[in-house]
């Protein structure tokens, strides 16, 4: 329950929908006081369900007093990674198909439906080829019933978007699909990145719109009537209407929010943020109070975009990472996330009995696959018509209760778990997996014991017997491995180089240096790696999994208050930001020798000035008014505009304008 608030309090709600958990936090904004928090499982098939559960769990006394809701989400990143975006037709104007093919760039466009058309401009903003509008409209008619959105990218469109604009005007008259234009998303000149970004944005439009509609609905159900903000990949906030138009900017918003939250709660302006979640550990850097932004555009699932996002690294290691062995009996942690055995046994006590019986069997000793359990996560109901025969069999078996993989494989008459044909059921969250995890180890040593300790103990014993490695040594090794993997990630993240995988007789000096700095193995040479910034740990497993990491890198670990929900705090702690980049470049004469005038190309329009000074003045002034107005409309309070001018060659400039302000809270 929330304490009574006085009239000068500003109550805000921050929500982070992560890969595993959805966290919500109720904050009094000015005092930075966390009043309530709640964690619930993320429901990937419909994020809004988890969100509504979290809002319900926080038990807000007076929902109408909430002045802002802000969400960070992995929705965009997940949709791209899992191919759940909508179908897009990408129209490439003025691109050279042979050039694209020679660099094998086709795979990078993020859609298989891309088409080339004559047109485009050159480095001087001049038309290099006439636009083939007829072909564009012909193709539109052919594809409009097979795709959900259209993306258009024209060569050098940031300098002169005329062909994209003409294409948009024509296409929107013959078809009602949403259309995304490359030049409105990016002013960078990377033609492939811009096309990819446009295609990804188009594929995410209705995904994000559905999400916002659902969040709004959840808010209304709970009696909350407040502005809704969405976090960008650089940690800043945008209004839900901006997010609905540029969903691609929400890529990486989850980890960015964590970094911002870590800073907000710890008051540290220079630090390395490590967010340890259930599935992944995410790294970000705070310098001078701001999240470090990546110079190159954000990358998602191998697609390079031109979206500016926080510089991050994410590794598949978290509190619920699956601890297993590989073919050579080496311990492997992650990248898959499973439900801890202790938790499953807590729900299904028979598992404890079964494991106890198993470990008493000494010959042949049971393999670690007996620790992998599958269970029915969500009952699909009685209507199973949509499922294959194999899927129906699996569901039937699991309805009777959780089952260990070797038993399941036998019952289904398969030879190996890879033949079970359950991928779709797992993806749809009908089947869940359980196994040994760091959380189970915490149950055993008593540090975190909400569920069945005995089962965790039996699980470890089984693994210990299989490896002929007594439990204390085995446990210590697992924790050491976990710390080593995280320390390695830190070093790779900050150096932007990689440490080769550990191997017994590697001649690689980098690997030796790294290991020696952690374990002081060499008799004559001592090496150390000192991390010059403190580590701010956030996420529930942070305390346990990062203490040793900080020691290995000779730095301190800071766990701010409420560190376990810092990601949700970060969703509200960001600033509202709107930015625009205006390009100024010369209009050259036919021979290319004289400057006739200067073009000022902004996102929505272009003007021409005879004198460079007039062009610069105009760009500054009109850009200033535009970003200020947009920031106000986005919900910024008294936004301040920062202008940066970058010379970009002879007589060319990039005017970067940014309006930033705290979210406006008032009722």
């Amino acid at each position: 329950m929330t304490p009574m608030n006085n009239s000068s309090d500003a109550l805000v709600l921050g929500i982070d929908t992560g890969g595993t958990y959805t966290d919500g936090v109720l904050l009094e904004y000015h005092s930075r006081t966390v009043l309530a928090a709640h964690k619930s499982l993320t429901t990937k098939r419909d994020f809004a369900i988890g969100i509504e559960k979290v809002i319900e769990g926080i038990q807000i006394q007076d929902p109408s007093s909430i002045q802002m809701v802000s969400i960070s989400t992995t929705l965009a990143t997940n949709a791209i990674a899992e191919g759940k975006g909508k179908r897009v037709a990408l129209f490439l104007i003025g691109y050279d198909p042979e050039l694209v093919a020679s660099f094998q760039m086709e795979r990078h466009f993020a859609t298989p439906n891309f088409y080339y058309f004559a047109g485009g401009h050159d480095l001087f903003g001049q038309e290099k080829e006439a636009l083939d509008l007829t072909a564009l409209l012909k193709k539109t008619n052919q594809v409009k019933n097979q795709v959900d959105a259209i993306a258009i990218s024209s060569y050098f469109s940031p300098l002169n978007p005329e062909h994209e604009t003409r294409a948009y005007n024509a296409i929107s008259q013959v078809c009602d699909l949403p259309i995304v234009l490359g030049h409105q998303l990016s002013t960078k000149l990377g033609s492939v990145e811009r096309a990819t970004t446009a295609a990804l944005n188009a594929s995410l439009l209705s995904v994000l719109q559905d999400f916002i509609v659902a969040v709004r609905r959840a808010m209304e159900h709970r009696g909350i009537d407040a502005p809704l903000m969405v976090v960008r990949g650089d940690g800043t906030l945008m209004s839900d209407e901006f997010a609905a138009r540029s969903p691609v900017e929400t890529i990486h918003s989850g980890p960015a929010a964590s970094a911002i939250g870590g800073r907000f709660l710890s008051h540290q302006d220079d630090a390395l943020i490590l967010d340890v979640g259930g599935t992944t550990t995410d790294l970000a850097l705070i310098q001078g109070g701001n999240v470090s932004i990546s110079e190159t555009g954000a990358s998602v699932s191998g697609y390079k975009t031109s979206v500016k996002a926080a510089n991050l690294l994410s590794i598949g290691l978290g509190g619920d990472s699956h601890i297993s062995v590989d073919r050579e009996n080496n311990i492997v942690i992650g990248p898959e996330r499973v439900v801890p055995l202790a938790y499953l046994a807590h729900q299904h006590p028979e598992i404890q009995t079964r494991l106890k019986a198993l470990i008493q069997k000494t010959w042949p000793p049971p393999t670690p696959s007996w620790l992998e359990y599958w269970y029915l996560l969500r009952d699909p109901g009685d209507n199973l018509r949509a499922f294959s025969d194999r899927e129906k069999t699996l569901i039937k078996i699991l309805k009777a209760g959780p089952i260990a993989i070797p038993d399941l494989v036998k019952q289904v008459n398969a030879l190996h778990k890879n033949q079970l044909g359950a991928d779709e059921l797992i993806r749809r969250e009908i089947i869940g997996k359980a196994g040994l995890t760091p959380t189970d180890l915490l149950h055993i040593d008593g540090r975190h014991t909400p569920w069945d300790v005995k089962t965790a103990e039996y699980g470890l014993k089984l693994l210990s017997n299989h490896l002929h490695w007594e439990e204390p040594g085995l446990t210590e090794f697992i924790w050491t491995l976990s710390s080593e993997l995280i320390a390695k990630a830190i070093v790779e993240f900050l150096t932007e180089k990689s440490v080769p995988p550990s191997s017994a007789h590697s001649p690689d000096l980098g690997l030796w240096f790294f290991r020696n700095s952690l374990y002081a193995e060499h008799p004559h040479l001592a090496t150390q790696i000192h991390l010059q910034y403190p580590i701010i740990g956030i996420g529930a497993p942070a305390d346990i999994m990062l203490q040793d990491v900080a020691k290995l890198l000779h730095t301190e670990l800071i766990l701010p208050d409420h560190y376990f929900v810092a990601n949700a705090v970060g969703a509200i702690a960001g600033s509202v930001m709107v930015s625009e980049e205006i390009l100024i470049y010369p209009h050259l004469s036919e021979a290319g020798m004289d400057v006739i005038s200067y073009y000022v190309q902004a996102r929505d329009g272009r003007e021409e000035f005879e004198e460079l000074d007039d062009a610069l003045d105009h760009a500054r002034k009109s850009g200033y008014d535009r970003v200020l107005s947009a920031a106000l409309r986005s919900g910024a309070d008294n936004p301040q505009v920062v202008v940066e001018e970058i010379a970009d060659g002879i007589d060319s400039y990039r005017i970067h304008l940014q309006a930033v302000g705290n979210p406006r809270l008032s009722k």
Binding site: T134, N169, Q173, V174, R216, R217, E220, E241
Partner: protein, 215 residues
Amino acid sequence: MMELVRVDTQRAYAAIREKIATLELAPGAPVDEGKLARELDVGLVPVREAIKLLVHDHLIEAPSMGLFIAEVKIPELRQISEIRLLLECYCAQQAARFATPDDLVVLEALCREQSQVPPDEPRLLFELDHKFHQAIAQAAHNKYLADILDDFFGLSQRLWFLALPHLEFLPAAVEKHLELVAAIKAQDENHAEAIMRQHIQSFYDKVFETLQNLS
């Protein structure tokens, strides 16, 4: 204007407008906000906001008691049709003066698409026909003219829908469209205006005849 409207309100507006246009929400029927919110799976707030916009569009009426889908009255339709005839003919004339090569590409593409639609798809033909007229309005390069015509179309759309199943001549309209595009391309204002007049007049005559027979 739609950019200023919340995402869920936009959804509700588009969905409810479609239901009104296709007569799923019948003329004169009372409006049940709660039911709409449930069907569209949005909150009540966006439905209410959408209704406000639809009242502004004259598609929903709010007399002193309750909310109703606007009635479709034939006498009013005559008035709207007279204005449309006037404006569409002016439109065709202006298009002949101001149409750019890009405009012509769009018009030709629409004609091509129309000729490929099978005659047993009246709804599709009707929508293409509307797009064609909108494209002519764009080609006239007068945004106020285009806006007014859009408003009028919204008001009369449902009546066309009522008459549609009984109309058999829409496919023939394609030829008229081709003639019109040719006149515009040739920048022949008078000819363009005349074709449009004849095209629309005969359309309205047939529709009114059909509606009289229906009632």
